[in-house]
């Protein structure tokens, strides 16, 4: 595996091996010395053409725990916004000797463009491209679900998972649909019809417009961030109405199965798609997702740059 651009690049064995590697690396992170020497002397560039502090620091922490040198290239406010092309940026990174580029970009497909081009030779990790995919987020979500509800199995067979909100514009949803269904879970997408993409029929999911009817049957509710500006594009009348039908509040949480968990990729709009009571409740695993994000991203970098998964049980 040279790049991670889409969950579609992975088969089930590879996906599980990343999760297993993350599990092993998490044990390292829990120890007194958090660092592994694996990627010493390797250079990883975080190329962020779109703001995302949490994803950037998560990848940065992951790379540093593997002893890689990290360069943060925030294209916002630097050359991309001054009109430098992705090609020129890539060739600059190549000239600097980047072994891997972690790219966050506002344009769908930007990571694949970088990987398919002859502009640079390093590995490309998609850290979120437009409204396309965010594979590392899906992997950390699957890791978190498996930890809580996997019952010792390696995959997610039999679990029922609802993904709720702005599916149309969500890269998190696209990656999660692919990964969670590949791992055996049954995924239901819940959203107003305006926020479900035309052409969804080929996705391995059920679609519901009625959140309340879905809640009692699922083991995981994954809430998606809803951007306020969607209102002006007529996707829903106003935030109040959105919350009324698709927000996860304490009342709705009361109808969840026992043991069911609440997830959110962050950043949250408290009071819009999720209420404070839910976000801070014992069902919420939202901060744990952040913790797991570092281990999973370590595993991704490990697999791409150290040439294979970490053997389970090794040190």
């Amino acid at each position: 595996m040279r790049h991670l651009l889409s969950i579609a690049d992975l088969d089930k064995t590879e996906a599980i091996s990343i999760l297993d590697t993350a599990h092993e690396l998490a044990r390292v992170s829990e120890g007194a010395v958090k660092k592994l020497p694996t990627l010493r002397g390797r250079t990883i560039v975080n190329l962020f053409a779109e703001d995302s502090t949490r994803t950037r620091i998560s990848f940065e922490a992951a790379a540093k725990r593997l002893s890689a040198d990290v360069i943060n290239f925030s294209a916002k406010g630097s050359s991309v916004s001054k009109g430098e092309s992705l090609k020129d940026t890539a060739m600059t990174l190549q000239a600097m000797g980047a072994d891997a580029v972690v790219i966050r970009h506002f344009a769908s497909g930007a990571a694949q463009r970088l990987a398919d081009s002859q502009w640079m030779s390093g590995s490309v990790v998609n850290a979120g491209d437009g409204t396309h995919e965010h594979p590392s987020q899906a992997l950390l979500d699957a890791f978190t679900i498996r930890k809580h509800l996997g019952m010792g199995g390696s995959d997610l067979t039999g679990l029922n998972i609802a993904i709720v909100g702005d599916v149309l514009h969500s890269r998190v949803a696209r990656s999660n649909v692919l990964l969670l269904s590949m791992l055996g879970a049954h995924v239901t997408l819940v959203a107003p019809p305006t926020l479900i993409p035309v052409g969804i029929e080929s996705w391995p999911v059920k679609v519901s417009y009625d959140f309340d009817s879905v809640i009692p049957h699922v083991d995981v509710i994954m809430m998606l961030r809803v951007q306020q500006e969607r209102m002006s594009d007529l996707f829903f009348p106003n935030t109040r109405e959105y919350s009324r039908y698709f927000g996860l509040n304490a009342d709705r949480m009361g109808n969840m199965k026992s043991g069911a968990i609440v997830m959110h990729p962050g950043p949250m709009n408290r009071g819009l798609e999720i209420s404070a009571e839910v976000a801070d409740s014992s069902r919420s695993v939202i901060t744990e997702q952040v913790t797991n994000g570092v281990s999973v991203r370590m595993a991704i970098l490990y697999v791409l740059l150290a040439g294979g998964a970490l053997e389970v049980g090794s040190n």
Partner: protein
């Protein structure tokens, strides 16, 4: 004993008969078997089809304003290479072709290039803004004799503006060529809306945004009894509306591009913007409907929508890239591949769809003439039995954004004759300005 400038020996006419064709002083002077007489040059057309010179109703030549992408001369060379003897230069140049001055300049540049006739298309509205009519009458009366008006690249979306434009051009028998795209339904759109756009996370351009405008405009054309042409039809639904309108006797014609006869939206999966085009590549079902409609005459013509762009406009992220692809040099091969080799069109129908009818729609009387004695010697000679490999680095166009790079295509154009002079000889474009 007769004399001729050129003798084209043993070629097959569109109707299937074999003939020797003599060209003298720009005209076909004899047509038949085994010409005996003196001639300057003989061309062996054994195994080849001789077509009337192709006529493109939809070409972006980029001059004035974007000479880095194409010039009238480089576009003329690309046209000649593709068998064209006339092209229609779209109005979305900089400055926009919305005055007599600009259309006369483009027309004159075409004459100077001397490889084919360049017929400027005038903008419907000033600056392509869709608000006020441009000086349509002045362009019609200019040396360029403009008859086709289009805001192509933009839709004339205001129904009142469209109605007035359709009415106004009746004065001189013009036609409005509509780029059918509802602007509100396609803000920021990147590709066909459907299964592929949903997966790729690229903003959808729904078929209904094209079909709604076509439906409105055929009704408007009917109401004011004027002539409407629909540019680059791409959807099965659009075909149904045109079919309905023609059955009602509405004066509407429609074009399809070569790329919409072959390519589909799944090509966007590469995120390579060479496949980004407006209107977008559609589904396999649309492609099938377009081919059938071109075969049964619902769609009247093939037009290239040749849209050159400089390298940097395509060497970037999909959503940042320009819309459009090259078309002139590959059009006839794509039509052979999709329509002739599949048995949907005869060569005589190809002559109709790519020469005779586009010339009629555009009012280009010197072009699109059947191959008979006395006709203008605008000819394209194609060997349908040979194939060639498309190489973007070897195109005549100044740009290289062909979606067919690396394709092995049928049909090699060996010669093109414009006004009785060869502009392409054995596949090589002459320098321009005739021999």
């Amino acid at each position: 004993m007769t004399t001729a400038d050129f003798l084209i020996k043993n070629g097959q006419l569109p109707d299937g008969t074999k003939a020797d064709i003599c060209i003298t002083d720009g005209l076909i002077t004899s047509l038949g078997k085994e010409f005996k007489g003196a001639m300057t040059t003989t061309i062996d057309a054994t195994d080849c089809i001789v077509l009337p010179g192709l006529v493109d109703l939809h070409t972006h030549l980029r001059e004035p304003g974007r000479e880095d992408a194409e010039t009238v001369l480089s576009g003329s060379r690309a046209g000649a290479k593709g068998g064209y003897t006339a092209v229609s230069a779209m109005a979305n140049t900089s400055p926009v072709a919305d005055t007599a001055g600009v259309v006369e300049q483009v027309y004159r540049l075409g004459q100077e290039a001397g490889l084919l006739d360049v017929f400027p298309i005038g903008a419907v509205t000033q600056g392509l803004k869709g608000e006020t009519l441009s000086e349509i009458g002045a362009m019609a009366d200019s040396v360029a004799r403009v008859r086709v008006f289009s805001d192509d690249g933009h839709c004339v979306s205001d129904p009142l503006v469209m109605r007035r434009a359709l009415e106004y051009i009746k004065k001189f028998g013009g036609v409005i060529a509509q780029h059918a795209q509802d602007p509100r339904m396609t803000v920021g759109s990147q590709m066909n809306e459907g299964e592929i756009s949903a997966r790729l996370g690229l903003k959808g351009w729904p078929a209904v945004a094209e079909e709604a405008i076509i439906a409105r405009d055929v009704l408007l054309a009917d109401h004011v009894k004027s002539r409407l042409h629909i540019c680059h039809l791409t959807t099965a639904g659009g075909v149904e509306i045109i079919r309905w309108a023609k059955a009602r006797g509405i004066d509407v014609t429609a074009e399809v591009t070569p790329h919409h006869l072959l390519l589909t939206d799944d090509l966007a999966s590469s995120y390579d913007p060479v496949f980004k085009v407006n209107p977008p590549l559609r589904t396999e079902a649309d492609v099938v409907a377009l081919r059938e409609a071109l075969a049964d005459g619902t769609i009247d013509i093939v037009a290239t929508d040749h849209a050159p762009h400089p390298t940097e406009a395509k060497e970037c992220e999909w959503q940042e890239a320009a819309f459009g692809m090259l078309g002139l040099e590959t059009a006839l091969s794509i039509v052979q591949k999709t329509m002739v080799d599949s048995g949907l069109l005869s060569w005589s129908q190809v002559a109709d769809r790519m020469s005779i009818t586009p010339a009629r729609i555009g009012g280009y009387q010197d072009h699109g003439q059947s191959l008979v004695v006395g006709s203008n010697a605008h000819l394209a000679i194609i060997n349908p039995h040979q194939t060639w490999r498309v190489d973007r680095d070897l195109v005549q166009s100044k740009s290289s954004n062909t979606p067919y790079h690396g394709y092995e295509l049928p049909g090699v154009i060996t010669h093109t004759f414009y006004k009785g002079k060869p502009t392409v000889v054995n596949g090589v474009v002459t320098s321009g300005g005739g021999l």
